[in-house]
Amino acid sequence: MMNSDTKKLTFKEKLQGDVSQIKENWNNPTKRKVRGKNALLIAGKILRAVILIGLCFVILLPIFEKLSVALRHPTDISDPQVVFIPGKISLTNFQIAWELLVIFDTNAASFSEMSTILNTVIVSTVCMVIQVMSAAVAGYAFARLKFKGNNIIFYIILATLVVPNETLHVSRVLFYTNTSFFGIKLMNTILSMYIMTIFGQGIRSAIFIYLFRQFFKNLPVELEESAQVDGAGVIRTFWSIMLPNARGAVVTVGLFSFVWQWNDYYFANLLKYSVSFPLLSTKLGGNTERLDTVLSTWKAAGREVLEGVEDIAQDPLFRSIIANTAALLMMLPLLIGYFFVQKLFVESIERTGIVG
């Protein structure tokens, strides 16, 4: 009896002690502030996580849909029982799309017709390098090398951005077919794409020039002045001081230049270089005509993947699923490449050597 009483007492005392301590903590203004700050931080983190997860879901859902549709066997297309993951995963669509895009063809007539993916990589890389250089040079001139009429020329160049390419299509085709650029014929050759990029008229060059100009304008003048005091000329200042400091712009421009060149369809059609130099985008764009030939060669080779479905080739659903799979196949290298490059994108942009 006694024993339990003391126990009760001690428990009560303990409780009271705890409560008073909690009360003290609760009313302590410093601790209160710390607590409030921590709570705010955690709430912010949770909010951020919710928003990011939601947005990632919204972005990934259509891509996941595409993948799910692409992995279906052509005969299962309209099976209502399949919702997310097809029961029988088949790569038939991918095989057809592979042939359709001529990813790798050992029977090709010449080396440049062998692999569209190789061609696309070559064109995109070369154009990316050229575009970064020409845009950086022009952007630097507009930002820092002021001469009379500098701003007017810049705004005129910027105004070219608002003129849609389709507008100039007819007159461009006429002009390019009937003239040559300093002795170089512009039609039917991949060279013309490089020439256009060198002379600052590549894919959306104006926005890249704008980006570089804003970046160079944003760098402190002291950087340039100190280089000048140390005896560096204009080119040297540009090459060894300003350009390394604009690494953020270089990476951004390089990335977009590559991606847009990869996806380009308009210029490939305008300059007609796709005949001798086939690219992924032109093969994808012209897939309707090619699908029948691909399927007939399959049949001739005796591959019985589409057994028993003779008229499937005429089904619009089947055709658009093949187009969708081909689009996925075309984007896949970009996605994989981006996962490698984005590390560079994240970490290399720290500014070094500048004290404002």
Binding site: R48, A49, L52, V162, L168, M196, F199, A327, L335, Y338
Partner: protein, 338 residues
């Protein structure tokens, strides 16, 4: 030795010229003037390209917009135009667009409105996302990669491939089904999961509109991201030592430092969203119809003439929008040096 001598003699005038120019630059000319000269040299290739690849075709388009364009023939081998004949008709093309074309004016107005609405929405969203993506958290690399995906998938070639041919599109429309609504349907999936109808509608609509905003703001997010990362770190350190909160740091440091890029992103948004609007589809319908003569109330006009006139109106109106946006944003811009 002899060859070297001869070479040096041949090279002498060139070396002398180079040295003279170099001396002239370094001794006689002030640094500012040297900079101006280099500026002009840097611009020259751009100007050549501009004149040859842009200005000449553009002027031709202007001429077309005032004339009746007739095709005189195509090269039988390459199937390309060799020439056209133009016949001056004055403002008839424009008169046709303004008075007789059924939908041009309304489409133009609605595109104007939607573009002006897009700009603040996309700018604010992409700035917030850039700030969020710049903060450190687990899985940042993955999230960044995901946000870039819509930019990759925004390809004209894919659009063309997915709308394969008129006949197929028509067949799909007549059967009232589209690949993904036939095969895979998010809304249906949610309904099957026994969610109430309102919730399903809200979720699917929200996901659609959010998706369109995200897919058009990838470029802007990256522009802001690179801008934020080039803000000097010592500014943030000083602010933290002074006890500034994240909110204050954003408004007092990040926002002003990024504001020059606001202009870039704004201009890009206008251009991009205007190029996506319905108006360009209306215009392109005239191009893809080929070289057809049709008689309006104003006499004979051709597709190419009307197409050129429409395109010019398009350009003028998008320059107008850009001017508005630049005027509004440039009040907020702050340059670090000034």
């Amino acid at each position: 030795m002899a060859i070297k001598n001869i070479l040096s003699k041949i090279a002498f005038p060139f070396v002398w010229l180079f040295n003279a120019i170099n001396n002239f630059f370094t001794t006689r000319v002030k640094y500012d003037k040297r900079k101006a000269i280099w500026g002009i040299i840097f611009i020259i290739p751009l100007m050549i390209g501009f004149v040859y690849f842009f200005l000449i075709p553009f002027c031709t388009t202007i001429v077309y917009s005032f004339s009746n364009v007739k095709n005189i023939g195509t090269n039988s081998e390459t199937n390309q135009f060799i020439g056209v004949v133009t016949e001056w008709v004055g403002f008839d093309n424009y008169r046709y667009i303004w008075n007789e074309h059924a939908t041009f004016k309304q489409t133009m107005l609605s595109s104007f409105g939607s573009t002006l609405l897009d700009v603040p929405l996309i700018l604010i969203f992409s700035l917030i996302m850039a700030v969020v993506l710049n903060s450190k958290f687990r899985g940042r690399a993955f999230v960044r990669a995901v946000f870039f995906m819509p930019v990759i998938f925004n390809s004209q070639a894919i659009d063309v491939a997915m709308n394969t041919g008129e006949a197929i599109t028509e067949a799909m429309e007549s059967e009232n089904r589209d690949v993904f609504s036939a095969v895979f349907n998010f809304t249906e999936f949610l309904t099957k999961a026994n969610l109430p109808v309102q919730a399903v509608n809200f979720l699917s609509n929200a996901s659609k509109s959010i998706f369109s905003i995200i897919s058009y703001s990838g470029v802007q997010i990256l522009i802001f991201l690179s801008g934020i990362q080039s803000v000097p770190k010592h500014l943030y350190e000083a602010a933290k030592i002074e006890g500034a909160t994240q909110y204050e740091i954003f408004w007092k440091i990040t926002f002003p430092m990024v504001s020059p890029l606001m202009l870039t992103a704004g201009v890009y948004t206008v251009v991009d969203s205007f190029l996506r609007s319905d108006i360009l589809k209306t215009i392109n319908r005239f191009k893809t119809a080929g070289n057809v003569t049709f008689s309006g109330g104003l006499g004979n006009l051709t597709n190419y003439g009307v197409h050129a006139a429409m395109s010019l109106l398009f350009c003028i109106s998008s320059i107008l929008i850009i001017a508005i946006v630049v005027l509004l944003i440039s009040r907020m811009v702050f340059y670090y040096d000034e």
